[in-house]
């Protein structure tokens, strides 16, 4: 863990430059450029709202806000993983020629999506204004789910980036895993919708805690139980420690397989 902090400190300029490059390249050739970071979650929200609120008539007030409060963090998570999983493999040529701390690539992939995530808070705020939805004081609490989610994402990012070097199937498997994870997580619904006897099963999902934290703070204006906060942070730190350890253990071998 200390090692990771040291690596990030030492390479902070490189990580930042790589993250910005990622965004730069992603938006450079599109007419709307950075606006896509704002438009994307809005369009996604409109589609999902049409399906679940209008067609399936989910009995939730202000469903768009209910949805977007977890859709944004989810999108951050899934996009980060989609980028991380390829981050080492796609920089393979470079790694074979110069020495670079390998951890910078998954970190930069997560950071670039983090910037996107923070930008996407703008449409969220606009939406709240348009819907005349109150800004709860619990917004201040958002820091806890935010940090938990960031740590959890980084840990997963390290893991998938490393495994994909040895098994290229991982990037394909990840797509399916993410899709299943999306429906298994409280994004389009909340845990209250789940029949009581299945709920323990859904609590096994480490993402459920930070996602629930986001929704409680933004939509319900409530604080989660302290157990839920602890679980949320514990899952984040746990994932990061395990993911980074595994990554570190094989990082000297990565260059032979990329």
């Amino acid at each position: 863990m200390l090692q990771l902090i040291r690596e990030i400190r030492k390479n902070r300029e490189l990580i930042w430059a790589l993250a910005l490059k990622e965004l730069h390249v992603r938006y450079k050739r599109s007419a709307l450029g950075f606006l896509w970071a704002l438009l994307n979650p809005l369009l996604m929200m409109i589609i999902l709202t049409m399906v679940f609120s209008t067609v399936m008539r989910v009995p939730v007030h202000n469903y768009p806000i209910f949805l977007i409060s977890t859709l944004l963090p989810w999108t951050f998570f899934s996009q980060s993983l989609a980028y991380s999983v390829e981050s080492i493999v796609s920089n393979g040529d470079l790694l074979k020629k110069v020495y670079v701390a390998k951890s910078v690539f998954p970190i930069a992939a997560v950071i670039s999506n983090l910037i996107n995530f923070l930008l996407s808070m703008i449409p969220l705020v606009l939406l709240l204004v348009v819907f005349r939805f109150p800004f709860h004081r619990t917004w201040f609490y958002l820091l806890v789910p935010f940090v938990s989610l960031l740590l959890f994402t980084l840990g997963c990012g390290f893991f998938f980036a490393m495994v994909n070097v040895f098994f290229r199937d991982m990037s394909h498997i990840l797509q399916i895993v993410l899709q299943a994870w999306f429906y298994f997580s409280p994004v389009i619904y909340s845990l209250d919708f789940v029949p009581a006897r299945y709920r323990p099963l859904f609590r096994l999902n480490p993402l459920a805690y930070p996602l629930n934290g986001f929704r409680l703070a933004i939509y319900y204006g409530q604080l989660p139980t302290w157990q839920s906060m602890v679980m949320s942070l514990a899952c984040g730190f746990g994932a990061l420690i395990i993911g980074y350890k595994l990554f570190q253990r094989s990082q000297d071998n990565l260059v032979f397989y990329v």
Partner: protein
């Protein structure tokens, strides 16, 4: 270099019984399906290949050392270990000072970024800080001579422009140890002359140079000492003229041993 000098000068590169083993895999299980297939067949279809079989040498500050040897003898592996790309399987490697590699120019360039943006990104990848890069930016621009192209994406560059920029960034970081792998073979004459001048400048300033090349003329010109590698073993280490002529004789010998087609008696 006198013995007295040798004691005083800092050891820049120290290899001690360095072994580099690669796992050569005939059918590497690239995908899970293959991995499962291998699991069930329970056969290992790889063998270990030793690119370096225990190599020891010391290179001190201010030395310009060539590594000569046939293709596949392990020259590039040595450079990659010095650069920190490979971690050796066994043995000790000590490097002191910053290493700069002219191994593949522009390795970290991103085609969609402009020359200027790539200077920054590449500099960061090579271990400089943003401030250090900005301090060197003008010199890099001067050397690369790209004119207005500096603000165009590098994918629009000619291969010569690409090379010039890559060379400028790699040498402007002003490393203590400069690794050169067959670099002078690229570019036009002006560029080659500029490269040669710059390398000469490195040498005069007492930097350490490790040079891998098949161009024995360039080797003789740049280096004063040479290592001969064959099959992952160190065969000779000494003044460049001796080692290179020894190497030339060996190569000659190899060719003479091979029977000419016309010399093979036909049935």
């Amino acid at each position: 270099m006198s013995d007295f000098d040798k004691v005083r000068r800092i050891e820049r590169i120290c290899f001690q019984d360095v072994v580099q083993r690669f796992r050569l895999i005939q059918e590497r299980p690239d995908t899970l399906r293959e991995a499962f297939a291998h699991l069930f067949r329970k056969q290992t279809s790889y063998h270990d290949f030793e690119a370096l079989k225990g190599i020891s040498f010391i290179i001190r500050e201010g030395e310009a050392v060539a590594i000569v040897g046939r293709n596949g003898s392990g020259k590039s592996t040595i450079l990659k270990i010095i650069a920190g790309v490979y971690r050796p399987t066994a043995g000790q490697v000590r490097i002191s000072g910053q290493v700069g590699a002219l191994i593949e120019l522009g390795a970290g360039f991103h085609p969609d970024l402009t020359g200027r943006e790539n200077i920054v990104l590449n500099g960061l990848l090579l271990g400089l800080s943003r401030r250090e890069i900005h301090a060197r930016e003008q010199k890099i621009l001067d050397f690369a001579e790209l004119g207005d192209f500096i603000d165009s994406p590098v994918k629009q560059y000619s291969s010569g422009m690409f090379m010039r920029l890559g060379f400028a960034v790699a040498t402007e970081i002003d490393p203590d140890i400069l690794l050169i792998d067959e670099i002078l073979a690229v570019g036009d004459e002006t560029f080659q002359r500029k490269c040669a001048e710059r390398i000469e400048d490195f040498r005069r300033r007492g930097k350490t140079i490790v040079f891998v090349s098949h161009n024995l003329g360039a080797v003789r010109q740049i280096c004063h000492r040479a290592l001969m590698i064959d099959g992952g073993l160190l065969f000779a280490d000494g003044p460049v003229d001796e080692v290179v002529s020894d190497y030339e004789q060996r190569m000659q010998g190899r060719f003479e041993q091979r029977p000419h087609a016309s010399a093979v008696p036909s049935a």
